[in-house]
């Protein structure tokens, strides 16, 4: 069954604006990861946040994790046209060796 569910399914913004997408999951996790997928390409890892962490930054990306609400958010600040892609959250459940489960993704379109 699907573990992570992203919201919204699609997001359209202008360059320079911030993009926020959310991920909810169902079971306890070891870590949560965010990936980007450009059209027709493979997934690229963006950031990993462990269950004992609440916030992490990487460049223009900020990820938060609220284990009590079983949710995470990814914020992309000052978006660029090159940020146009699908963004996926993936969770590694506790006591689940290597079984990283993905949601269906948020499709982000950034227009110049």
């Amino acid at each position: 069954s699907q573990q992570g569910e992203e919201d919204p399914q699609a997001l359209s913004i202008q360059e320079g604006e911030n993009a926020t997408m959310n991920c909810s999951y169902k079971t306890s996790i070891n870590n949560l990861q965010w990936y980007r997928q450009n059209s027709g390409r493979g997934l690229v890892h963006l950031i990993l946040i462990r269950s004992n962490e609440r916030e992490k930054h990487s460049g223009r990306l900020r990820v938060t994790l609220d284990t009590s609400k079983k949710s995470s958010s990814l914020l992309i600040t000052a978006s660029r046209a090159a940020d146009t892609a699908s963004y996926f959250c993936a969770t590694l459940q506790t006591d689940s060796w290597g079984k990283l489960q993905f949601g269906a993704g948020t499709q982000v379109v950034v227009t110049p």
Binding site: Q2, Y35, Q37, G40, L43, Q101, F102, A104, Q107
Partner: protein, 113 residues
């Protein structure tokens, strides 16, 4: 050098045929995966191998058979292809048995007619 490479990138075949997809990683990782991405972009894990040993085998029809000749290679053979097998198949590798990030190949788009 491509870190995780899959061949072929595109595969078009008839129902009932048998086909294989190959994957190789040059990252020195111990763990490799096959994921299936459907037309709605939902990614589902199929198999995982760690040091040539099958660790994860999700509810996948037994027409799908993975093979890992060594820890740098993980191939996927599919027998008696069905229309519903049409999807993009991604190979991935990980240095930490899934506790860390996955490195994905570019995908192999399979179309069954």
């Amino acid at each position: 050098d491509t870190a995780v490479s899959q061949t072929p990138k595109y595969l078009v075949t008839q129902m009932g045929n048998d086909k294989s997809i190959k994957c190789e990683q040059n990252l020195g990782h111990d763990t490799m995966y096959w994921y299936k991405q459907d037309s709605k972009k939902f990614l589902k894990i199929m198999f995982s191998y760690n040091n040539k040993e099958l660790i994860i085998n999700e509810t996948v029809p037994n027409r799908f058979s993975p093979k890992s000749p060594d820890k740098a290679h993980l191939n996927l053979h599919i027998n008696s292809l069905e229309l519903g097998d049409s999807a993009v198949y991604f190979c991935a590798s990980s240095p930490q048995g899934g506790a860390g990030e996955l490195f994905f190949g570019e995908g192999s788009r399979l179309t069954v007619l």
